[in-house]
Amino acid sequence: AQSVSQHNHHVILSEAASLELGCNYSYGGTVNLFWYVQYPGQHLQLLLKYFSGDPLVKGIKGFEAEFIKSKFSFNLRKPSVQWSDTAEYFCAVNVRGGGNKLTFGTGTQLKVEL
């Protein structure tokens, strides 16, 4: 079975700082990769996804992620964070042809200070 690791559980940054959140998965087959964001008290929203093609994926709100197959990684980046980016970030994986069962990482709580 696949698993997802997010190594940074809590991250605190100042506004305008750069962000990189780590995500590694374990599965030998073909996967689709996702980053979701959960703002305080809200539901999960899709930030970006990777299915195939260019491994550098751009999402909403200035976020991007790079799929590095050899490292089983899909790290999330943003060059300059804003206070409104304060939220919980989840990396998720599903196996192609596996019934779209999403396996989530444990999440990273990001706090951006003014």
């Binding site: 539901h43 999960l44 779209n100």
Partner: protein, 111 residues
Amino acid sequence: DTAVSQTPKYLVTQMGNDKSIKCEQNLGHDTMYWYKQDSKKFLKIMFSYNNKELIINETVPNRFSPKSPDKAHLNLHINSLELGDSAVYFCASSLRDNEQFFGPGTRLTVL
């Protein structure tokens, strides 16, 4: 124009009671899901239905029974509620294996 909606938003009940959570999507998707988010924010899939057919059934107590009357609805019924059932339950939907859209969640508190 709500895409995935759930009712109720909050549910507070006593141990041993039976309760249901309803989910509806108006996106025309063919697959719907239930996830449980625990107090540490960890999300885990419980069930998935495709065209009213159960396709994912994770290790969930049989006190939890999903029901899909049609493609747009997936309800979750829970019998004999226990303290450990307290969590936020999210419904989601997708078109086949594409990205999932999540509902606002139902915060269940069992006293």
